[in-house]
């Protein structure tokens, strides 16, 4: 089948939206910026559905648009590969993107950067679609960097706030570390295969099996090397240990961004890439084990952090880390389809979690769950979808998350991988922690009594000022007003979600009774939530395993690309594994209920009892601090103290200025001869004359 017009439209429609909004958004579209934004993405979604139909009909398309870079033997094109894996990703990306774009209309309402927000979101969608649709590694890299860039823009969307700007920069630079390995991996692919085109690379993949190459003085197995280098990129992009540090900070961005980029799509690009490169990974058991171990470790590690955090978005962010770890775990044991399946279900329930959290934040204007509580009576819809998402995330049978998670855990148990049993244990432990922290979040947010009155009061004041645009800056960051662009209050994490007038009205009246003015979000936000909730429940039904009477259609659909892993295990074992993880998950929910509904003072006591463990978890294992003191500080120190102060200033400049300096000093001493007294000149003249005459005479 030839490349169809609507295939090309999929990525380029959002690009059109971006161009329209970035060029004329400020003057023309302004608060109508969602029209080009949403319509183009929705168009992509429709095109994706057509594409899915083509793929379901058995077509695979690999076609070039034009030749991108040609240099000697290096040739790379801009072209698309549309196969089942791409189709799944297209559906995930465009569906989430469309719903989140619509949600953003409500969430970002009234923000002065409204057009900018939609422009970036469109650009992101374009890059993400290029990433999944590209037919070669360079285009993958293009999308890879492009989504990173949009992530940078959107994390730093409230750029007047230092923490947001810092977080954006951190995300970008940490990702660059991953991309460093990824880029070298791409070079190695070119050196090994002489091309970057997927079809040519994966078609000849057997040619490198067992090859050994010299790399930086070490002789290593070529497939292992390539696989691990590519995996570096995935570690960065998908926030795995040790490059996970940027994801929690990325929550500085507006919540729809967290939902789209940092939950549903961009962070899963790493999983997609590993799945896409499965022929290479399959050649290297060592690389596979590494992927599995890192995935499992991240999963467990992030889950243990999540149970102590108090920022609603950070908890979900760590949860994302954890789920991404599960996906890598699946890839690492060879169950790519399970990984992609989890990616697919995760996109729905995690986007839903984030958007529901956004709805909460939108109502209470804080991220801190300690200042929430009892919200279920004010926000019934949000509460309901939150519960659905949490059940799905926790892996309660019947929900999407259950099927995918169960498949991963079963794959780990049943795979031939040497680390299979180990990662299975870790995965099962995660299955305990996930419901624990998710339901802790729910109980603290929606149950009990509202604890945020005081804060609302303070907040109300701040908002009042902000809305009335006092000329003098009140709080840090209000300078924005003075330039006539002020819109949000950088002093608060999420108030930037806009709604100036709206929120201000609340602030003014609600300073004493903040609780009474918490209400459900508008329809434009809740309707996408409901759609996602349907997804969170039902999306997984396409992949129900045979043992539960399903057809595992999802895995079969992906089989042409991802292959079919061989498992060894009986039905009884499968039932046992499933039962264990389900029991453990329910146990987690129960424990959360016990701690946060029944004995609400128990968590505090436990935290005091095990204060060290608590602190380690609370401070995220001190990884940020570790990097700060081992990488950031020394680099800056070298730059400042060694290179600027010593090498450049002393050594090089010393030589450069030293030579003229020496000449200068010599001239200085010669200068003393120039006394300015005429006699002295005369005497020297006479002496010279005598000398020359004598010389002439005696040398005659």
């Amino acid at each position: 089948m030839e490349l169809q017009f609507y295939h090309v439209l999929i990525p380029f429609l959002p690009l059109v939206g971006f161009i329209v909004n970035i060029l004329i958004g400020k003057e023309v579209t302004r608060y109508g910026a969602h029209w080009p934004g949403v319509l183009t993405v929705a168009g992509s979604w429709v095109c994706s559905l057509f594409t899915l139909r083509d793929v379901l009909a058995g077509h695979t398309i690999d076609a070039d648009l034009y030749s991108w870079i040609v240099s000697g033997t290096f040739k790379v094109s801009v072209g698309f590969l549309i196969d089942p894996l791409t189709a799944v990703m297209l559906i995930v990306v465009t569906t989430c993107a469309t719903l989140i774009h619509i949600y953003s209309i409500g969430y970002m309402h009234g923000d002065t950067g409204y057009y900018r927000f939609f422009a970036y979101l469109n650009l992101f969608t374009f890059c993400m679609l290029m990433l999944v649709m590209g037919n070669n590694f360079l285009l993958l890299y293009f999308g890879w960097e492009g989504v990173g860039l949009c992530s940078y823009f959107l994390i730093g969307y409230y750029f007047n706030k230092k923490s947001a700007a810092d977080a954006g920069k951190k995300a970008f630079i940490v990702n660059r570390f991953g991309d460093f390995g990824f880029g070298i991996g791409v070079f190695m692919v070119f050196i090994a295969f002489g091309t970057l085109h997927y079809a040519d690379v994966f078609g000849n993949v057997s040619s490198i099996a067992g090859q050994r190459v010299d790399f930086l003085g070490f002789t290593v197995d070529l497939p292992t090397l390539i696989a691990l280098l590519l995996f570096c990129g995935a570690v960065g992009k998908s926030a795995q240990i040790p490059l996970h540090v940027w994801l929690p900070d990325a929550m500085e961005g507006p919540t729809p961004v967290s939902a789209l980029i940092h939950a549903a799509t961009m962070v899963t690009a790493g999983v997609f890439m590993v799945a896409r490169c499965n022929p290479i990974f399959n050649l290297s058991p060592f690389a596979m084990d590494t992927v599995a171990i890192i995935g499992a470790a991240t999963s467990l590690f992030a889950a243990t952090i999540a149970i102590t955090q108090n920022d609603i978005k950070r908890i979900i962010a760590y949860s994302t880390c954890s789920h991404l770890g599960l996906m890598f775990l699946a890839c690492g044991v060879g169950a790519y389809a399970a990984g992609i399946f989890h990616l697919y279900t995760h996109a729905f329930f995690k986007a839903l979690l984030f958007l529901a959290a956004g709805s909460v934040i939108h109502a209470v204007h804080t991220n801190d769950i300690q200042e929430m509580g009892g919200l279920k009576k004010y926000m019934p819809i949000t509460y309901a979808v939150f519960i659905i998402a949490a059940l799905s995330a926790a892996g309660v049978p019947g929900f999407s998350g259950f099927f995918s998670k169960d498949e991963i855990i079963w794959s780990a148990y049943a795979s031939h991988s040497s680390v299979g049993k180990l990662v299975w244990l870790m995965g099962t432990a995660v299955a305990f922690f996930t419901p624990l922290y998710t339901f802790r979040l729910i109980f603290l947010t929606f149950h009990g009594t509202y604890r945020g009155g005081h804060h609302a009061e303070a907040h109300g004041h701040a908002v009042t000022h902000s809305a009335h645009a006092h000329p003098a800056p009140h709080t840090s960051g209000h300078g924005a007003h003075d330039a006539g662009h002020g819109s949000h209050d950088p002093g608060h994490d999420t108030h930037g979600s806009g709604h100036n007038t709206h929120a201000a009205g609340h602030g003014a009246q609600g300073s004493h009774h903040g609780e009474h003015h918490i209400h459900e979000s508008p329809k434009i936000m809740t309707v996408p939530l409901m759609f996602l909730a349907v997804g969170a429940v039902a999306a997984g039904w396409v992949g129900i395993p045979p043992i539960l009477g399903g057809g595992a259609h999802f895995a079969h659909f992906l089989e042409p690309v991802l292959g079919h892993p061989e498992f060894h295990g009986t039905h009884a074992e499968e039932w046992a594994v499933m039962g264990l993880s389900t029991t453990i998950a329910l146990l987690g929910i129960g424990l959360a209920a016990f701690f946060y509904l029944r004995k609400t003072d128990l968590p505090k006591k436990l935290a005091e009892q095990f204060s060290m463990l608590y602190r380690i978890s609370f401070r995220k294992y001190y990884v940020d601090e570790l990097y700060h003191y081992t990488i950031v500080k020394p680099t800056l120190w070298i730059a400042n103290s060694v290179l600027v102060a010593i090498t450049d200033a002393k050594i090089i400049e010393g030589i450069v200025n030293g030579v003229p300096g020496a000449i200068g000093r010599f001239s200085q001493s010669l200068r003393k001869i120039q006394t300015g007294i005429v006699e002295h000149y005369g005497i020297f003249m006479a002496a010279g004359a005598v000398f020359i005459l004598a010389l002439l005479y005696f040398m005659r």
Binding site: I683, A686, A689, Y697
Partner: protein, 170 residues
């Protein structure tokens, strides 16, 4: 013999007068002694059959340059030198180098070899007089240098006026 005696007198007088000129405290005295010195030199030129130059020596040096010196001395503070030591600190060095120069040149003179004599014998010059002979050479063979000399003098005149005038204005 008489010639030698005359030369001896003039040579002695010139030497002594030169020494006197450079050692006077008062520049006016120096100028006066110099006048006498120039007359002696002019006389010496006469011995050498250079009547025209002897005349020029008297007219230009004695009549022109020395008068200029006299004006200059009168314009600046003539008495000043008398209040301060006559010689500067470098006097000894000056003496050394002057004597050194003298010795070196005198030594060099010993090896002087005269070129073959030219066409302007004394008789020849006397026949058409010194001024005419000189004039013929000057205006034919040395015409361009002569013109250039006139230009130098012109420049000197203008320069002197400019320099002095500037001072007057200040």
């Amino acid at each position: 013999m008489i010639q030698q005696a005359f030369f001896a007198y003039f040579a002695f007088a010139i030497t002594v007068l030169a020494l006197v000129v450079i050692t006077r405290k008062n520049p006016i005295h120096s100028v006066a002694w110099m006048l006498l010195l120039f007359f002696h030199i002019a006389a010496l030129y006469l011995f050498l059959n250079a009547e025209f130059l002897a005349a020029v020596q008297v007219i230009v040096y004695a009549g022109g340059i020395l008068v200029l010196f006299l004006f200059a001395v009168l314009l600046v503070n003539v008495r000043e030198e008398m209040r301060i030591s006559r010689f500067i600190g470098a006097g000894a060095a000056g003496f050394t180098f002057a004597v050194g120069l003298l010795v070196v040149v005198l030594m060099a003179l010993r090896s002087f070899i005269a070129a073959p004599p030219g066409m302007y014998t004394i008789e020849h010059i006397q026949q058409e007089t010194n001024a005419i002979a000189l004039g013929k050479v000057l205006y034919t063979e040395f015409l361009y240098p002569f013109e250039i000399t006139s230009l130098i003098l012109l420049v000197a005149i203008i320069g002197a006026i400019v320099l002095a005038k500037k001072g007057l204005r200040g």
